[in-house]
Symmetry: C2
Subunit: 274 residues, 2 copies
């Protein structure tokens, strides 16, 4: 099955999608993206993802060269041409082709349907391990394409038999490389509110949790991990995924906690009816 993509009006299989060498996303890292997935063939939380994409573009002083309705229709076309099953969808907006390798003229917009990563049942059952890294993303609130750091850490993550990295700086934790982090301490659900990309799954989980937990969105200290009963991470593809080991620290008894499972079940209910 070929997955289909869109670039400036043209639709073709993703492997045929190519961008010119003078694109500022390529030459200058001047680009942003967003990524969402479908459930039952429908884009999950489309309105929120679209708004975040628009916000990222505004922060990078770029205009998105397509209207929301047309973008939605294009996404539905890409899904259909890609076989009609559930997919991931990636939007990429770059500074476009530049005559002098620095000036922005007209952004380039790509949209691509992608195969979803395989379901990680054993990770949900056993929890994952993450390593710690002292780092904070530049412009963390904007979904820029800058993910050099985690690619450079790939070997260290593998060597530690870990699955990801948790960033911290000045004694505060922020986020994993591509997902948000939550702590549970008794009835309190705690998550950092700064130096993070404001995840749509994070926002969804906060809504789902409102009825059962006291929610604290605030700066979170690295040292609070020692007191946490449960830790989990959220993202479009990870949903609600337990973290049971952070560097040398085992969270509680090293098994996924009941409240994390409860929240994941609430999330699965929501998406099964999407």
């Amino acid at each position: 099955m070929a997955y289909y993509g869109f670039l400036n009006g043209q639709i073709c299989p993703v492997e045929q999608l190519a961008i010119g060498a003078t694109d500022l996303g390529l030459l200058r890292g001047y680009g942003l993206f967003d990524y969402f997935r479908t459930y039952n063939g429908r884009p999950f939380q489309w309105d929120w993802y679209w708004q975040r994409f628009m916000n990222s573009a505004a922060m990078l002083h770029m205009t998105v060269p397509i209207q929301k309705d047309e973008a939605y229709r294009t996404v539905m076309t890409l899904i259909e041409k890609s076989g009609g099953g559930d997919v991931g969808v990636r939007f990429v907006l770059t500074g476009g082709y530049s005559p002098d390798s620095i000036s922005v003229l007209q952004p380039n917009l790509m949209m691509m349907a992608e195969e979803l990563p395989p379901a990680a049942h054993s990770q949900h059952e056993n929890g994952i391990k993450v390593i710690l890294d002292e780092y904070v993303r530049e412009m963390a609130e904007v979904k820029t394409t800058d993910y050099k750091r985690v690619i450079m850490l790939a070997t260290a993550i593998q060597a530690a038999k870990a699955q990801d990295v948790l960033y911290h700086k000045n004694g505060e934790i922020s986020e994993l490389s591509r997902s948000n982090v939550f702590l549970l301490n008794g009835n309190r659900l705690i998550t950092p509110n700064r130096h993070i990309l404001h995840g749509i799954t994070r926002k969804t989980v906060l809504q789902l949790a409102k009825a059962d937990f006291v929610i604290e969105e605030r700066p979170v200290l690295l040292s609070e991990l020692y007191d946490a009963d449960e830790v989990f991470t959220t993202s479009s593809t990870k949903q609600v995924l337990p973290i049971t080991q952070i560097g040398d620290l085992t969270i509680a008894d090293g098994r996924p906690g009941e409240r994390t499972k409860y929240l994941h079940e609430r999330f699965e209910e929501l998406v099964s009816n999407w």
Copy 2:
């Protein structure tokens, strides 16, 4: 006149050079580059530029998929096909095509001949103005493709009728957006030695200046700008370019200084015989 480029073995006009949409340079900002120019048809300081490119690649855990000799021959071919006159040459190495948008398999290497920017005689005669920005490049020592910051500052630079930006952080100056900075104070030639990209023109100027100046490569305070007799910037295309205004601060009498001119003349002598 078409300028020619190279991508993974293929040579064609740069405007036909295209890279697939799943390239990690595009999707994840995982890329580095280098840029040099020719004088009299010969790459300037080729050995140094090649070494820096190799060093950048090593820092990003990537292997350059071409040997030095073959790279040199390819550069000469690009120059010849582009008309044989002096050109700029850009090397770009990215993380390559990724099956899952994050794993590195095989880097992509592009090399492109580019038109040189027009000679900036009036800037050399009058000096340039720069604005100040509190910032330090992430991994400044590595020539990554991350230049979002200066692109985002383009409007502020224009509004200030300035030509570039000087970065400073924690009271220390580092570099301009794409060039190094030097101060002259009496007979002392002072330039930052950290949080910078180690410019080849910077290195060349330090060699040229050795006989006539006391050289200080060290951390340089923002406050030292107030005492500077002369300030200039160096890069492959700017050579030795006077800075006469930094934010609200006029350097000395606001005219390019004699020692900056002297160093620029030494530089022009060197390249005229290259």
